[in-house]
Amino acid sequence: MGSDLNRDVEGLLKAHGVSEREVYLDSENSGLIFPEALKAMVDSYEEAARGHPAITHKLGWESYEKLYESTLKIAQALNCNSEEITYTHNGTEANNLAILGLAEASKSRRKILVSSIEHLSVIFAAEHLQKFGFKVVKVPVDGEGFVDLDFISRNVDKDTLLVSVALVNHEIGTIQDVKAIIDVVKGHDEKIVVHTDACDALGRVKLDLKRLNLDLASFSSHKIYGPKGVGALYIKEGVNVSPIIYGQLSTQHLWPSLENIPAIVGFSKAVELMHLNFESYNSRITRLRDKLIDGLLDIEYTVLNGPKGYKRSPDNVNISFLFCEGEALTVELSLKGIYVSSGSACTSRILEPSHVLQAIGRRHEEAHGSILMKITPFHSDEDVDYVIGSFPDAIRRIRSMSPMKPGGG
């Protein structure tokens, strides 16, 4: 934290005030939690959290049992073996373990393909390996974010270690045809490892790990409304990954230290809820998503980012409002109790807007005006109506302040 920051956040919040209605649409950045998952975590603190699952006494065994049961539930939902799951503390660490841990374990291959719209924890981890002589190739995407299969086909070779493409893109909701990617890659060479960052796919897209023949897949608890502080990496039996953090092992071989069992119990509960309610959540969320998209595209000078329809994640709404700077709009909406985020450069340290929006060919001014929203199982029709009703005024005010106005200004 830089010392130049304003510390009078209380004053800020007072000046901001509280809106009558609040609609939280920013679970891209920080998820809500299922009350059931929170309760499961708290209960487990009270029951079994004292034990260490690798110690031979009653409380150790109890905590081991909790851990094992939770893992089994997750493995069942994903259709994999519980031995294939390694816990980390978030999706970022899972992606790092997948990429850095695979590289650490690899003897010879030195080429990595990642899509140009991956999460930064994939891109930065891969780029870090360039220091050690790895070659990172960015796979281009089309205007809706779908990766160029031909490009992959032309670029995988005997030196290729890994191809990493997220099943669902976190910003524009593109659902990749991961099966086709796997077929292309494995058709060239069975030994090339395929990783998918499934942090945003879990619970939104059917995921059958056994059937897919994936090698590695990353997950994050807070992205499915579980507790913060847990993530997981699926590692198919036989795929070699080395640890990237060192220390005393507990029950896991690839991430040392005591597992955060209460958080894992909560995570498992969230996985279970997403799994059991898959159909009902997603049919509702899809409907609300489309209602919101349609309602907002009625506003002039708007562009949808990402595909429409069934190839779009059921929760993802990402729209660029031209002539409207996204961060200002974020604040304006906040004043109305609507919480969203933007791909504007203003939310970043440098002058570049979202690399995802750039990769699908959005001009900078389009990216600056982008607003990302995620529909959750917690949202109602009334929420969406309120949002649709509130946007036009907000857009109008922000546009009215600008020296560049629609139609030339």
Partner: protein, 164 residues
């Protein structure tokens, strides 16, 4: 290789939020003596600065602004229009982006450029005023840091647009 972005916290001061909610001196000024634009839409921030100048005393009767940019950008431009009112052009010229930041109760580091851009737009307007007049001694030949910043941003935007 493009260095990709990372987030950092932006806890604004309440002053920024207040001015964002109720900006003072917002809008194009039809009877402006002079005006100037700084920044670019491609870079995500742009400020138009309008000045009504009393020719005799060379002081600013009123100022107004328009802004395309984040809440801090709007607040910076707005507070600057307040700060310059009644000042001579020389006094106005001497306002630094730090003064703007201080007046706002402190800008987060990544938002310094909002203060810089606001001051840049003001200085451009002042320069424009002296365009075909005798330049006063206090007006430097060379661009100040704030003006250079605006220029660099515009050049960067040029590059962005060529790219896409």
């Amino acid at each position: 290789m493009v260095k990709l972005s990372s987030r950092i916290p932006l806890p604004y001061s309440f002053k920024v939020i207040e001015l964002f909610r109720n900006p003072k001196n917002l809008g194009k000024m039809d009877d402006a003596t002079v005006w100037a634009l700084a920044g670019s839409i491609a870079c995500g921030d742009m400020i138009a600065m309008y000045l009504k100048i009393d020719e005799e005393t060379q002081s600013i009767l009123k100022a107004s602004f328009e802004s395309y940019g984040c809440a801090a950008n709007i607040a910076a431009a707005s507070i600057l229009t307040e700060m310059v009112r009644g000042k001579t052009l020389e006094e106005a010229w001497r306002i630094s982006w730090r003064d703007v930041s201080d007046a706002l109760g402190g800008l987060p580091k990544v938002k310094y450029h909002c203060g810089i851009l606001a001051v840049g737009s003001l200085r451009r307007a002042i320069r424009a005023y002296f365009q075909d007049k005798l330049k006063p001694k206090w007006l430097p030949e060379n661009l100040t840091a704030e003006e250079r910043h605006a220029l660099e941003e515009e050049e960067l935007a040029e590059r962005f647009s060529r790219k896409s």
